[in-house]
């Protein structure tokens, strides 16, 4: 009986710890910064001077969605390269879980450390907004990349690619690979992922054009960015749609899992697979013929562009207004669009002849 007693006590203690942890996390997430009432208009710079010299000794910090995500690490490496190339200092700090509340505490610390610019991939557009507004009120330049925060909380959003272009590219790729006719399916991440649904929406628009009238999208499946689940969803698609000609997976986890399954199944070579994947993950499957061609933007270029945007903002060369021009080193120039958005460019496509030029 003593054992049961101690087990019960253990459960209670554990539950107690869990509850207090949740309460603490809740506090961190809802801390009301005075800045939230300051509004966004209190940004430091009023007008841009495109010819201002780039200030030296700037401190730029990159806050990824989570510190252990290889994709985000590649992005940040590109950003730190850009920043050190301009002879500033750059660092990557961030939470080990992809939650907005943990990001907020990192942002608060960076503000206390008087960084010159904070570059952040927001885990939640609104939850990080008060902390970012606080940073701006203290004269710190705020750039979002990869995943945007509320527009009034940042000056510039560096978008990997125009969402419409991402959708269009994937439909073009699958159409080429299945000869323009037949049934296709989409293997996505979670059913409520914003970027996934935006891309899928544009894919559907693209399929509605007369050019793709021979292609029928029969199902959208969700693998939750989990290997096992993506495997099983791929199997279900292949089993339940016997005349399926192709799968589009706009998620790096999904496309790698689907490729691994296809490569070891009789469907290899019979069902086309394309989507968004990293060259390192897909190399094996491009070389063994499972996948012909897929797409992705170059994540290190995304970070590189964000790094340049941060330095330009901190030096007063841009303010984030529509029409301003950002000079971005080896990438040339980008014009700032609506709502302070800068687009990296159309996605890059990778196939057997080019994949070995890329390592990320």
């Amino acid at each position: 009986m003593t054992n049961t007693g101690s087990t019960r006590r253990a459960v209670l203690t554990t539950a107690g710890i869990a509850v207090s942890a949740v309460l603490l996390a809740g506090c961190a997430g809802t801390t009301k910064h005075s800045a939230s009432s300051d509004g966004a208009a209190s940004g430091p710079v009023t007008s841009a001077n495109p010819n201002a010299p780039t200030k030296q000794g700037l401190k730029i910090s990159f806050v990824p969605k989570e510190i252990d995500n290889p994709y985000e690490n590649t992005v940040d490496r590109g950003g730190i390269d850009a920043v050190t190339g301009l002879r500033e200092t750059g660092k990557e700090v961030g939470p080990s879980d992809a939650s907005a509340s943990s990001q907020v505490s990192y942002i608060t610390t960076l503000v206390q450390q008087r960084q010159d610019a904070i570059v952040v991939a927001a885990n939640d557009p609104n939850a990080v907004a008060p902390a970012l507004k606080d940073a701006r009120a203290k004269g710190i330049a705020v750039v979002t990349y990869d995943s945007d925060a509320a527009p009034e909380a940042r000056q510039v959003f560096v978008n990997q690619a125009d969402s419409q272009e991402v959708g269009r590219t994937q439909i073009r790729l699958i159409s080429e690979q299945i000869g323009g006719t037949g049934k296709i399916a989409i293997l996505s991440a979670t059913p409520n992922a914003t970027n996934q649904n935006t891309w899928i929406g544009f894919m559907k628009d693209e399929l509605a054009t007369p050019r793709y009238k021979g292609i029928e999208l029969v199902r959208v499946a969700y693998g939750d960015d989990d290997d096992q689940k993506s495997f099983q969803q791929t199997q279900a698609l292949l089993q339940s749609i016997p005349d399926l000609k192709g799968i589009v997976a706009p998620t790096t986890v999904g496309i790698a899992a689907a490729a691994r399954y296809l490569s070891s199944s009789p469907y290899k070579g019979r069902v086309a697979l394309t989507g968004l994947g990293t060259p390192d993950q897909m190399r094996q499957f491009v070389k063994d013929g499972t996948v012909v061609r897929f797409a992705l933007w170059d994540p290190s270029q995304l970070g590189y562009l964000a790094g340049y945007a941060a330095c330009a903002l901190a030096s007063g060369q841009i303010t984030g207004k529509q029409g301003e021009v950002l000079k971005a080193g080896k990438l040339g120039t980008r014009t700032i669009g609506n709502h302070g958005e800068i687009i990296l460019g159309p996605p890059t496509t990778f196939d057997a002849s080019t994949i070995d030029n890329y390592h990320f």
């Binding site: 003593t2 252990d68 096992q228 279900a236 089993q239 339940s240 790698a256 490569s263 094996q284």
Partner: protein
């Protein structure tokens, strides 16, 4: 004791029945579900979870639990990847041995804390869940190898993960061998029977001269070794590894064990039941998209299936208990 000699207990027959109904309905909707490839995939998908569930069964029978399975599996899967990053041509058997050894070490850490320090397994393994996962992340960032991809592993290793022997997936064969061995130990060997005694009444077991501490430590090591094996197989099967492999897997494992009729407070249950539980849960996940359950509802259906099977179990147990009580009263009264 004759009922123990039957190949499947009533509880296990219940799971088999549920499985048959599920497969029949799904096959009626889509015949390919029971095709050669469909069956192949079904067993392959269940293999890794089966290994984990069989290992967990050993612990749960002794009134212990291992919540760190997901983290241990992640650590050993990541070890497999790191081995291939270091030497692309490592023989498969060496990776298997390394993974099993590392899993056993993790199990020994858990077991030592539980058996020697007398801390409840729930607390110890909740702690090591975070510690092992933290080591995994730390290792990844220390070596700068955040992700290991299929092209970095040897072709032999990948073929091992997806290969078949006479049409039966190799992973499934491994799971079956482990299942048969554990089943044999639990049913017939003295040390196996002692595990039930420890779980039924730890105090009485000690008084009866069973070296409970030693047994529990051994069970943690064996279960850890099985988790280590599962980690290596995970790497070979999926071909992509990062430091978050196996996150949340402990819930699936405990669910499989519970659905399989292993009493969560110890003393009763079989490895066969847990394996059937793993097969049933995997089949449900595989069947839902084929049955056309909308993606947003699949998780809810998953959970409902779990609750249904547990409440059925409770109902059966309650009836059984009252029947036993009536019989006993009839004999003595």
């Amino acid at each position: 004791m004759t009922w123990r000699r039957r190949p499947l207990s009533g509880r296990e027959l219940g799971i088999v029945f549920a499985l048959l109904v599920l497969v029949a309905v799904t096959t009626a909707v889509n015949p390919a579900f029971l095709g050669a490839q469909g069956l192949h995939d079904l067993f392959l998908n269940a293999s890794i979870l089966t290994l984990l569930a069989v290992g967990q069964t050993l612990l749960v029978i002794t009134r212990n639990i291992d919540l760190s399975v997901g983290s241990t599996m992640g650590l050993t899967a990541f070890l497999s990847g790191q081995i291939y990053v270091a030497d692309h041509d490592t023989p498969v058997i060496a990776v298997l041995v390394a993974g099993i050894a590392m899993g056993a070490v993790c199990g020994a850490v858990n077991g030592a804390l539980v058996a020697a320090a007398k801390v409840p397994a729930l607390v110890v393994t909740l702690g090591t869940l975070y510690v092992f996962r933290g080591l995994d992340y730390g290792w990844a960032s220390l070596t700068g190898t955040r992700q290991v991809n299929a092209d970095q592993m040897s072709g032999q290793f990948l073929a091992f993960g997806s290969g078949s022997v006479l049409g039966v997936p190799r992973l499934t064969l491994i799971a079956i061998v482990v299942l048969v061995a554990v089943n044999y130990v639990l049913r017939t060997m003295r040390s196996g029977r002692e595990l039930y005694a420890i779980g039924s009444n730890p105090h009485a077991a000690r008084l009866a001269g069973i070296p409970a501490g030693k047994r529990i430590l051994a069970v943690f090591v064996v279960s850890g070794a099985l988790v280590g094996l599962a980690g290596v197989l995970h790497a070979a099967y999926f071909g992509t590894i990062n430091a978050s492999v196996g996150s949340g897997e402990e819930l699936a494992v405990v669910a499989a064990v519970v659905v399989g009729g292993v009493a969560i407070f110890g003393g009763s249950g079989t490895a066969m039941g847990a394996a059937l539980g793993a097969l049933l849960l995997t089949t449900i996940t595989g069947a839902l998209p084929i049955l056309g359950v909308p993606a947003l509802w699949q998780r809810a259906v998953d959970g409902a299936a779990l609750l249904l099977s547990i409440s059925l179990d409770r109902a059966v147990m309650a009836r059984l208990a009252s029947r036993l009580r009536r019989e006993r009263n009839a004999r003595h009264g």
